[in-house]
Symmetry: C2
Subunit: 208 residues, 2 copies
DNA sequence: CGCTGTGAAAACCTTCACAGCC
DNA sequence: GGCTGTGAAGGTTTTCACAGCG
């Protein structure tokens, strides 16, 4: 399955949720694509990698297709997530209530700051980084979210990987190295802004 | 300039910052690419779109190249950013101190919640959404960051666009529509986790 | 000789357009 | 007739490999 297709599956899942919430039972590639913000040909091609789940002349069963995509993504049972770094951002992520409906449970919070360790955030006690390995194992966490300072990111990343998580989502702008077999994704807000700035610059010099 | 290249420029900028901080004056495509986490051929191709700034047989002048990329991105003078939605995430973003070194100043905070409007966050008073248009104009903001609930995202987006910003960074998972000429980027943390879950699933069934 | 800059080749992804089934 | 599923065409991005300059 092409990487680009995988990257779009979450959009399709959300679009289907949205249609389902509106009581739509059956939909067409045209409609679903419009909701997801892609072209209909692209949608059909992407879905074809999951097998044949539509009916010609009719369309797709919203609920069934939703199930197929959720299964492909592996979010039929809640994936367990540990958040490391309970600063401003870690706090915000821990309190974010939207993870549940996307298929995730935040099961552990970890930090090193003595002022934070032991305190309660979003109904959970923050544990010390030293307890990380035990926590990951005991809680069955498969994904770690890193919201730590850039200077600590690689060190902490090495620890969560050694502890056994298979996926890491980093909010650090630092380039991180992970062993093969572990999946890493990075959200760099500064980089996103810089890309916007590039296009803003274009707009300006094109004269508007 | 290819879209894919633009998306990588921020990485190169950060890599150059990192080298410069270590006192490196001249570097090769090989070294810089390693720091940025890309292939050296890709780096050279990307840089070639900015013109010819290296010296054959020698390499690139770190400081000079940094300047060229910053200019291309339009971050030589600080871009002004307004954050809309001062909940958990908006708070975290407002307090994040790293924007300065990436070329941005947060110049305004906006919300609608009476409990938040008028309070002080990160040394700034939160203004009401009704004042948005005036603020954007008065402060010269070119980019808006949306950290609002999904249900309000499109409405708020329309307002910031009407107020005159040219770039929008949304943290909502909702698909947003913007007029042509306005640039939109979306950071969807739930989607990132789902993509990680997909790969985790693969790993599991491949047998580890 | 070393390293950049770049055409050309290969890989990847998207879009088209229609055959095939409902 | 309508809409999916998909080969084929078209476009973009990456990689290769080397000419060209210092």
């Amino acid at each position: 399955m092409p990487r680009a297709t995988v990257d779009r599956l979450p959009r399709y899942l959300r679009a289907l949720d949205s249609l389902e919430a509106q009581g739509v039972v059956t939909t067409s590639s045209e409609t679903l694509a419009a909701v997801a913000g892609v072209g209909s040909a692209q949608l059909r091609k992407d879905l074809s990698f999951l097998g044949s789940h539509g009916r010609r002349g009719v369309g797709y069963d919203v609920s069934h297709l939703r199930g197929r995509i959720a299964a492909a993504l592996g979010v039929t049972s809640r994936q367990r997530v540990v958040i490391v770094g309970i600063g401003n951002l870690g706090h915000a992520l821990a309190n974010y209530s939207g993870f549940g409906e996307r298929g995730f449970s935040v099961v552990g919070l970890v930090d090193v700051d003595p002022a934070v360790v032991g305190s309660s955030v979003s109904g959970m006690v923050v544990r010390h980084l030293d307890e990380l390995e035990g926590l990951v194992d005991e809680l069955g966490a498969t994904i770690a979210v890193l919201a730590v300072p850039s200077s600590a990111a690689q060190r902490v990343c090495d620890r969560v990987v050694a502890a056994g998580v298979g996926g890491v989502l980093s909010f650090s702008s630092r380039e991180l190295a992970v062993p093969t077999g572990v999946d890493l994704r990075t959200v760099d807000v500064g980089a996103e802004l810089q890309i916007l700035a590039f296009h803003g610059r274009r707009r300006q010099s094109t004269g508007a």
